[in-house]
C-alpha cells in the first residue's frame, strides 16, 4: 500500500506530531506493509502543488496533506481526483478534491485562550501582541484576539508585531528584546499566536529579569505544557491541539475507505471535522503531561 505524505513544512512541530500519531497508529495496528513516502514542501505553496501532482502521477493509493493551504493547490488536487486517488487533509482547509479535512477550530481556540489571558490581566494593563498573518490558523487566532480586544478598553496594546515566519524563533527573540528595552516593566502580558514564539518571549522576559508578565501560546506542544506547569513560569496557558489524534484518525479513515472500500459518506461525519482542543492552564496542566 503506497501512501504519499505531503508536509507543508515538516519543520513545524505540529506536523511532526500529526505524523507521530499516525506512525504510532501504524505500529499499534501492525501495518508493516504500508509504504509511506514523505514529501516536504518547505513552506512553499507551489512546492505543495508540485508534490501533490507528482504523487498523483506516481499513482499512489492515497495522499495525506498536513497544514497546507489547499486553496493554492486546486489544479494539483484535480489531477489527483482525475487519477482517482483519495486525498485526506489535516488542518489544511476543506477544498474540492479532498475527502475530508480534519482540524481544530482556530477561532474557538483563540477565543478560549485570549479571553482567559485578558481576564487574568484583570481586564487592564499593557499587552504585546505578536501575530503571524501568513498562516491561516495563526491569522484567524490573531483576528479573534483583535476582535475580543475591542471589548477590553483598559487593555492597551503596546506594540504589535508580525513574526517573520522563516526564522520565527530568532525573530521573536530579537523583537521581544527590543520591546523589553523599550517598555521594560510596563509589559504585563504577551499574546503569541503559537507556543514556540510564546516560549521565545518567556526566555527573553526571564533573561531581562521581568518576573510578572503573563504569556500565552496555542498548540499545546509537550514543552509548552511543561512550561505552563512550572509553578513560577510566566507562561500561563496554551490550548492543547490533539495532533496525534488527528494522525491516528487519518490512519483509521484510510483503512476504512481505501482498504476496506467502505463508502466515504458513511465513514466521514462531515467534510470538515473539528476535534476538541481544550484550554490548558496552570490548574489542569498535569492532565495533559
Amino acid at each position: 500500500f503506497e501512501l504519499a505524505w505531503v508536509h507543508a513544512n515538516a519543520a513545524a512541530q505540529s506536523e511532526q506530531r500529526v505524523k507521530a500519531g499516525f506512525d504510532a497508529w501504524l505500529a499499534e495496528t501492525g501495518k508493516t506493509d504500508w509504504n509511506v513516502s514523505l514529501l516536504d514542501s518547505g513552506g512553499s505553496g507551489e512546492a505543495t502543488a508540485s508534490n501533490i501532482q507528482d504523487a498523483a502521477s506516481r499513482g499512489v493509493n492515497a495522499i495525506v496533506i498536513t497544514m497546507a493551504d489547499l486553496r493554492a493547490s486546486r489544479a494539483a488536487l484535480d489531477a489527483a481526483k482525475a487519477a482517482n486517488i483519495p486525498v485526506f487533509a489535516v488542518d489544511s482547509g476543506y477544498t474540492d478534491g479532498v475527502l475530508v479535512d480534519i482540524t481544530t477550530n482556530n477561532w474557538a481556540m483563540s477565543s478560549d485562550v485570549s479571553v482567559y489571558l485578558l481576564d487574568q490581566m484583570g481586564g487592564k494593563g499593557n499587552l504585546i501582541f505578536l501575530r503571524m498573518a501568513e498562516h491561516h490558523g495563526t491569522r484567524k487566532r490573531g483576528d479573534v484576539m483583535e476582535t475580543v480586544l475591542k471589548e477590553y478598553p483598559d487593555v492597551k496594546v503596546l506594540a504589535e508585531h508580525n513574526i517573520d515566519y522563516t526564522a520565527f524563533f530568532e525573530d521573536t527573540n530579537k523583537t521581544m528584546e527590543d520591546y523589553v528595552a523599550r517598555f521594560g516593566n510596563e509589559i504585563n502580558a504577551v499574546w503569541a499566536p503559537w507556543d514556540e514564539p510564546a516560549q521565545a518571549a518567556v526566555n527573553v522576559l526571564n533573561a531581562a529579569g521581568l518576573k510578572d508578565v503573563k504569556v500565552i501560546g496555542i498548540d499545546g506542544h509537550p514543552q509548552a505544557i511543561a512550561e505552563v506547569c512550572k509553578p513560577d513560569s510566566q507562561m500561563i496557558a496554551t490550548v492543547s491541539q490533539p495532533f496525534e489524534k488527528m494522525g491516528a484518525q487519518v490512519g483509521e479513515w484510510i483503512q476504512e475507505i481505501v482498504i476496506d472500500k467502505k463508502s466515504a459518506d458513511d465513514v466521514l461525519p462531515a467534510k470538515t471535522v473539528y476535534m476538541d482542543a481544550p484550554l490548558v492552564t496552570k490548574k489542569n496542566c498535569k492532565d495533559f503531561m
Partner: protein, 331 residues
Amino acid sequence: MSDLTHSASADRRDTVFGIIPKDYVQRYSTLVVLVLMFVVFTVTVDKFLTPQNLLNIAQQISMLTIVGAGLTFGFAAKEMDLSVGFTVGLAGVLVPLMLVAGWSLPVALIVGLVAGFLVGALNAGLVTLVGIPSLIATLATGSILFGVNFLLTGGRAIYGGLPDSFLWLGQGRIMGVPVLAYFMIAAVALAWFVMERTIFGRYIYAVGGNQKAAELSGVKVRRYKAAALIVCALFAVVAGTLLSARLGSGQPNAGERYLLDGLATVFIGMTMLRPGTATVLGTFFGALFIGVINNGLNLMGMDTYIQSIVKGVIILVAVAVVSRSTKLNLL
C-alpha cells in the same frame, strides 16, 4: 600555458580517452548527465516516461525557467539581481489584487508588467546612474519590495474571486499541453533569439564581457546594463503572474525561493554550451535538470531530505566532469 602548445593545439584538438574532443566534453558533459539521468529515471521509475508526467515536468519548471531566462540577461551583463524573488512576489500579489478588486484581466496584466518595468528601472537607475553595485542595490530593493508585497496584502494570502480566464493561464491546457508550457517555450525562444541573434543581445554580452572594450567600441554601456536589469524584472513579473494563476492565489512570499533556485539554474547552465557564460539555453537545461531530478526522485517516493542530499550529489557529479577540464569563472 605557453605559446608552444598553442599553434599545435589549434588543429590537433585535445581529446579525452583519445576520441572525444575536449571542448565537446566542456560543452556537453552536463547535458549528457541530464540525458543519462533521464534514461535512468525512465528505466527505474514506473510512471516517469509518460506524456502526462513529462507535461507535469514542463509545468513545474515553467516559472523557474522564465525567472532564470531573465536572470540570464543580468548575468550576461555581469549584473546580479538579488531582488528577483520579490519581484516575482510583487506580480504574484498585485495582479490578483487588481482582479479581485474588479479590474479586467488585460488591465491587471498590464499593470503587472508596468510594475515589473518600474522595479527594473529602479534597479537599473541605482546601478547605472547612481553607480551602486547591483549586488547591493538589488539586495536593498529586495528589502523594499518585501515590505511592499506584504503591505499590499496585509501579510495574508489572496484567495478566491479570481476570474477563470486568469486561472486558465496557470492551470489550463491547449491541446492537452499546459498553457504554462507554452509561456515557457515562448519566453525561452524570445530570450534565446534576443541574446544570440540580435545586436541588443550581443551588446549585453559585450558590456558583461569587458565593459572597457565595449565602451571603446562605441557601445553605450549603461544603456545595456540597464536594459538587462529591466528585462530581468519583466521576466520575473511574468513568472509571478503565472505563479499566482497556477496557485489560484496571491501569496506575498511565494516568490522568495525563486532567487536561489533561479541562480542554480543559471549556474548549472553556465557549465554547458559556452562554459563560463550564462546562456538562455543553458539556463533552460539547468531548470530542466533540477525539474527532472525533483520529479524523478518524487516519483521514486524518496524522502524529501534524502532527495535534497541526492540532488546535491547529482549536481556535483554533473559539473565535476566539465570542471576538471575547464576553468569556469562564474562571476
